[in-house]
Symmetry: C2
Subunit: 319 residues, 2 copies
């Protein structure tokens, strides 16, 4: 099948009205008065962000969801995306069919559609890696994007969902055990879409957790010019992670520094903390109070004995 | 240098006001009332779209210009871009410095700025390819984007600049001669930015020439539901191309099917043809009348003897 036929058969049905059924070189997004257009871009590379053996259906979902996660943390409902693919001979017509079906499934789940993109060869050599480049777009009312900068002393620090499952699966995969209970978190993250309105209304600062809890907390602390205390024993873990990593020190390393969680990390004024977590709960999203914002700079993590945990620059803990 | 430091030192100075100095996970583009936001995305892969030896300064410009070219052909002035980079160990701090200087130079030339992006590793193996993914944004007044669909019988077909230099250089490189007079066209295309207003006002259909003149004319013919005649002997060549390829058949193959030209291919109503080419000329852009639109479908190319030239599906000529 030619690139033209693939676009026509697999991707044109996914196109937004402004995408001209992908038959043009460009899309034309109309103005939405009174709103800002929020944009974020995350790339995924084979062998770096996903395995060569990744199933195309869930891989398409992962590529969308790591981007959707960014918009949710900004308080923006995801509406559109651009898709760039650098493909290898392993991307057969069947692969494209399954990949586009995965996109279609998540377009329904999250209510977004395809604006356009580009499809190129990933290289001339057989070892070339598949690269997926997504840019996602959503609207918020003018000035209402929740930034990294905005945390203030006294704010409570919340995290959605549980942390560490994706990194935990990768750790089990790398030692050859590959825990099936943890794999879904790695293959197909579940960003907390039910949290988006509460984040926009109540979070003063917010970011998604892609680099790891401590690293992303540090991004917020730097951007906001504040210090953040995190309480390691408050950070929520799934039952599957506890079962796979009964050693609390191993588990904490995954939860604090593993990354690939795609949950939201938010700071909320103390007097809004109760309503924030209540609204999230009403929308089926768990929110856990895991820390406090104060004057100063940097991030301090306390262990279950209220001792300070030592972290290196990358956020990884040393034991 | 860490990724954080690189962003701060090399890319933050390039950021648009809406890009939060690249210190957030997202950008927030304000509404521009009465306008559509035009978006286009082109990816470049090492070994496919540029050589491993490409200089980072001009490579940055190529990555921007192949995208700017799309917007010009749509009648949209380029204003912003998102940048995705999948890099290898060959991308040292010096490489990033030169690459960001190339971006800065073209930001001045074309008046655009950086909204945000993503930077990832291109792979774990040493043969991984550098991938550059740019999405470019520009405004036009609501509904004024010039589409592929829009050509009507009777329209004159125009092309800007000259064609075939980039493909000609690649052909000389591949046989080991590497003509220096043609190389700039491959390394750093010159999209016809002076044509953007005239295209928006007078072109009924338009596309940039990336796949090759005949292939891109075919895109317009399909999208518009028309037939296009092209007159090969009218298609403009540079002096350098004529010197490098004195054989007219070889030269025509490069001009008709080579691609990588990043000139604009437009159809213009017959009674606007004179003013269209006059305005382009006033803006320092040559516009050449190379064909006609008529009822029907497909593209026919006539040679200097008014005989029909045979082309295969990819647009490449056979002699």
């Amino acid at each position: 099948m030619t690139e033209f036929d693939r676009i026509e058969q697999f991707f044109a049905p996914l196109a937004a009205p402004f995408g001209f059924a992908l038959r043009d070189d460009a899309a034309a997004l109309p103005t939405k008065p009174g709103h800002d257009l929020i944009l974020s871009k995350d790339m995924l590379v084979e062998g770096v962000h996903f395995l060569k053996s990744a199933e195309p259906f869930s891989l398409a979902q992962k590529a969308l969801r790591v981007n959707i996660s960014d918009l949710i943390a900004k308080g923006a409902v995801p509406s559109f995306y651009m898709l760039g693919l650098a493909t290898t001979p392993a991307q057969t017509d069947d692969w494209f069919r399954a990949f586009s079906n995965g996109l279609a499934a998540d377009q329904k789940t999250y209510g977004l559609s395809l604006l356009g993109g580009d499809s190129v060869r990933a290289g001339t050599d057989p070892t070339a890696n598949l690269v997926i480049s997504v840019t996602v777009f959503g609207y918020v009312r003018t000035g209402q994007m929740v930034r990294r900068a905005g945390a203030r002393p006294g704010d409570h620090v919340f995290v959605t969902g549980t942390l560490g499952d994706a990194a935990g699966w990768l750790a089990t995969y790398q030692v050859g055990t590959s825990d099936p209970a943890l794999q879904p978190a790695y293959d197909r993250p579940n960003p907390p879409v039910g949290a988006v309105d509460a984040i926009r209304r109540y979070a003063r600062a917010s970011a998604d957790i892609s680099d790891g809890l401590v690293a992303d907390a540090d991004h917020i602390a730097r951007a906001s010019g504040v210090h953040i205390d995190l309480y390691a024993d408050q950070v929520p873990a799934s039952k599957a992670l506890v079962a796979a990593f009964p050693d609390v020190r191993q588990r904490l390393a995954l939860m604090l520094s593993g990354g690939d969680d795609y949950q939201s990390l938010c700071t909320v004024a103390a007097d809004k903390a109760a309503i924030f977590s209540q609204i999230l709960d009403d929308h089926g999203v768990s929110a856990t109070h895991i820390g406090q914002v104060s004057d100063g700079s940097g991030v301090t993590v306390f262990d279950q004995n209220s001792d300070i945990m030592q972290l290196d620059r990358s956020g990884f803990t040393h034991f």
